[in-house]
Amino acid sequence: MPSLGADMEEGTLLEWLVKPGDTVHRGDIVAVVDTSKSAVEVECFDDGVIDALLVDPGQVVPVGAVLARIEGSAAATGPTSTGLHVVSPVTPIAPSPLVRHRAHELGIDLAAVHATGADGVVHRRDIEGLAHAGPARARVSPLARRLAEANGVNLGAVSGTGAGGAIRADDVRQAMAAPATSQASEPTTSGLDADQRAIAMRNSIAALMSRSKREIPHYYLSTTVDLQRTSEWMRERNRELPVGERLVPSAALLLAAARAAREVPELNGHWVDGAFRPAAGVDLGLILSLRSGGLLVPVLAAADTLDVSQVMALMRDLTRRARAGRLRGSELSQPSISVSNLGDQGVESVLGVIYPPQVALIGFGAVIQRPWAVDGLLGVRPLVTVTLAADHRATDAAIGARLLKTIDRILQTPEET
Amino acid sequence: MTAVDKSHGTGRSAAREPPRRRASATEPSATTPTTLTPKPQTTTAATGPADLLRQMMRIRRFEEKCAELYSDTKIRGFLHLCIGEEATAVGVMSALAPGDAVISTYREHGHALARGLSMDSIMAEMFGKVTGCSRGRGGSMHLFDAEHRFYGGNAIVAGGLPLAVGMALADHMNGRANVTACLFGDGAMAEGEFHESANLAALWKLPVLFCCENNGYAMGTALARTHAETDLAARAASYGMVSWAVDGMNVEAVAEATKRAVAQIRGGGGPCFLELRTYRFRAHSMYDPDRYRDKSEIEQWKRADPIPALTGPLLSSGTLTEADLRRWSAEIDAEIEAAITAADQGQLEPVADLTRFVTSEANRTGGPW
């Protein structure tokens, strides 16, 4: 049973995707497990033939328990306990579609790419680093790596404070000290009591939000942004795009949020041990409401470095898989800042609750056609209310205002994205 | 200048000539006057000519068998045979007492046998067996036997000489009347360690017997090609110690000279030097194609072979019969066969003991370092 979070002690096997006798390869998805936060795919990191499935769907087993036995694996331990016996999210995970796409574009063999995540996932930055300057590997001290593995900390979400951005043990410890974001899972059809799952999810959200409201002195800012230019630009783009790849305004909003977070680093990071620690990059948390209730917060890693098409692709992929209960551990790591986009729910503005230890949450309401004065003339424009909930311990309103202004500016120059 | 024997080897020619037959050692040589006053020896080694002959035969047969076993791949590594030089080994050892110490070179099978190490333990050593005198760790070049005070074949030319000085120093400081005999070749005389050691031993008047087995070649290079002054005894004498040049093909001469030297040393006269002029009939080692000397030179020296040289007189004098020789041969062959059988059957040292004796047991850490 892989550990998929610092606080995870056990997990529920939801579903086997293989059966005894099946040939499996490194990287194959073989099972789905529930971590009380989310259903997560488990990948196999050996080649071989499934000898026996040792855990039945619905069964709860502790982290570290052997889920299945793989015969003929290259592992020196032989057929006794390999394959799925992972105690940390080191299970190699298939690269995201975007990464696969970029690798294809750049002519890079993904199998030869060094993954920078502790979970072995190949990130976009690995690909691009390779394209620019040969193989790149995250600078993580051996101790930090060991700590992260032992405690299920996703190194991809840890910002390094060592030389050259190296992640050191203290960075991991701080990540450990920060509780994981509340990531409720939605019920699946396999085996579990939907009510119990809902209760667990509810409790998790309750605890985290209570803590946020208890500990974080929030301040709120709001502004209205004219989306005319972005909408027009997007409409132009969409004429040329295949129907399935059309852009929606949310993609532009998320990207604007990510770029703005980069420009206002005071809001992009974590409050740990009484101090703000800026994150190295913008890992944008996308707060998703599930139809059945509950929330999931998949992460768009290094979102500020993407273009709008990439954000669109990632957002679509993450959303689809989140709703199917098929997010991977690495996609549920700690964001550096989160976005709540409730426009599709018809909400005008979002006054959010910050996910500790993050220090800011950006809210987007619905894009609504409204009368709006431009250059002294009244017209009808697509408007969106952008809000910021920020931690007053880390910043004051002037910083928050700068973030909103930056979002506005970015959305007025969509061609630059 | 000294009064050393000039019968061979003093010329600048690379070619060497065998000695004229002589019955005794040559005259002593030293920069300071010395008095030879032979005293009764306590040696237990057999010193009668018949015994000396038998020991030489034993060494000869052993060495011949070693060459065979090497070809048969039973013995590996470097193998240096002393065929032709048996008289030096037997002669020197015959004059030493059990309490004396011997430090030798890598051509030391003869020394070890003559010193009393069992043939079994030597053969097993060369077979790499734990029953060997060095547990199979030394091989042909590194025979050790503390019980016989045989402190080894040293494969570093002249490397054993300082040790001999130190062992003699220990005896001297403890008032023990032991002699440390160190054997080395003419090549060692070119090493600084010889000169340092000779000086130190003479300076401190230590009981060291320097035995230079001058076979005329430092591996493949003739003496005259490497030494400006080829009179080795004369050079040793310059350190202020008694030095003789001796016919090393004559076992009785070697035994007599050694006896006198040991007596001198035990009398507190400080170190002595013997230049034992000898010749090896076979190549330097089993790897040596022996291209550096004429076959005729070897044949000429073989006419001075110490074994027939002693056999003839003993037979004609009636001291020895042909039957004795046949019996000895049979006994020696049997001893060799038994040694081979024992060596074959000997156990290999357990690999687990690889790091044993890197340090004394008390210091053993058990770790990889």
Binding site: S141, P142, L143, A144, T161, G162, A163, G164, G165, R168, A169, D170 | A101, G132, S134, R135, G136, R137, G138, H142, F144, D145, A146, Y151, G152, I156, G159, G160, L161, P162, L163, A164, V165, G166, M167, A168, L169, A170, D171, M173, N174, T180, G192, E193, E196, S197, N199, L200, W204, R356, F357, V358, T359, S360, A362, N363, R364, T365, G367, W369
Partner: protein
């Protein structure tokens, strides 16, 4: 099982009630010799100028008068012969102390040390132990130029069969000789030339020390600084500077360069997760490389920063003072290395 002072069979005969007192490294060494010469008639000192001259570094000053020329032996300039004679004497039952004036001269005796002292026991299948002590001066820092400023102790630490000691304190100068003489195997003692005048207090009853373990000379939690011999003082000075910055350095005095005390080294690194190795010797293939390799081999996953080394510059040590200083590890270099290991990127 390693021998420790506590396990030493022979009880000390020197009075231990002489109390703590001011002394120097040199005097402590001399006292150790005097003590050993008194305790064991098999002990004698042999080397160049150890007698009438009083020792080239005055360690044996006065011992000739006290113990006579048989036991305080002036040797000719024949390093190989008198070192080899020490080996032979050890084989012959003595407990020689061979003093080689400086480590560079020991190269002339290298054959004896390597091929005989360190080898005989193993090669003879356990028959010939060599209870020999060889002392020599090492190190730079006194403007003696290239041929008298080496730190070659790392070379000797390469050789199986030897124990290599590096006393860096007065207590060790006083206490290492006797257990070294009791060791059944050859022991090399390296005395850094800059330490002879080191003054300090010798604790009450200091007579023997454990010659199998490193010592933690200063406890700290942030970074381990490993030093020995002449480097120890610099490491401690660096630790003071670091403390002013709030960085707590743990300073390990190796003391024993072979066999290395892995337990102490690794234990400290496992606590601090960062390490700086100080070695006056050259970096390439040196002792610091060996220590770094062991740390990487055995406790890699405890490291939180790259291993740092502060070594002598890879040049023949020059004469001019400023150049010599530049060639040697200095406290500021150690401080900089420790900061690199500890501090976040700035």
């Amino acid at each position: 099982m390693t021998k420790t002072a506590a396990q030493s069979a022979t009880p000390t005969t020197t009075p231990t009630a002489d109390g703590a007192r001011q002394t120097t490294y040199r005097e402590a060494l001399r006292e150790a010799h005097r003590d050993a010469l008194k305790r064991d008639p098999r002990v004698f000192l042999m080397g160049e100028d150890v007698g009438r001259y009083g020792g080239s570094f005055a360690v044996s000053l006065g011992l000739l008068e006290e113990f006579g020329p048989e036991r305080i032996r002036d040797a000719p300039l024949s390093e190989s012969a008198f070192t080899g004679a020490g080996i032979g004497a050890a084989l012959g039952g003595m407990r020689p102390i061979v003093e080689i004036m400086t480590v560079n001269f020991s190269l002339l005796a290298l054959d004896q040390i390597l091929n005989n002292a360190a080898t005989l026991l193993h090669m003879s299948g356990g028959q010939l132990a060599v209870p020999l002590v060889v002392r020599m001066t090492t190190g730079a820092g006194r403007q003696l130029a290239a041929q008298h400023s080496h730190s070659l102790e790392g070379w000797y630490a390469h050789i199986p069969g030897l124990r290599v000691l590096a006393p860096a304190t007065i207590e060790d100068a006083r206490g290492m000789l006797w257990p070294a003489l009791e060791d059944p195997d050859p022991v090399l003692i390296f005395e850094h030339g800059s330490l002879y005048n080191l003054a300090g207090t010798l604790p009450d009853g200091a007579a023997e020390v454990d010659i199998s373990r490193a010592a933690i000379r200063r406890v700290g939690s942030d970074v381990t600084v490993i030093a020995y011999s002449g480097g120890l003082g610099k490491a401690l000075a660096a630790a003071d500077l670091l403390a002013a910055d709030g960085i707590q350095a743990e300073v390990i005095d190796l003391r024993v360069l072979r066999p290395l005390d892995d337990d102490t080294i690794l234990g400290s690194v496992r606590r601090t997760h960062r390490v700086v190795i100080v070695d006056e010797g050259w970096r390439s293939g040196g002792l610091s490389a060996e220590i770094a390799a062991r740390i990487a081999e055995q406790t890699f996953y405890d490291l939180d920063a790259p291993i740092e080394r502060v070594c002598g510059a890879e040049v023949p040590i020059p004469y001019a003072k400023h150049m010599e200083e530049a060639a040697l590890p200095q406290p500021v270099d150690i401080v900089a290395a420790a900061r690199r290991a500890v501090a976040p990127s700035g």
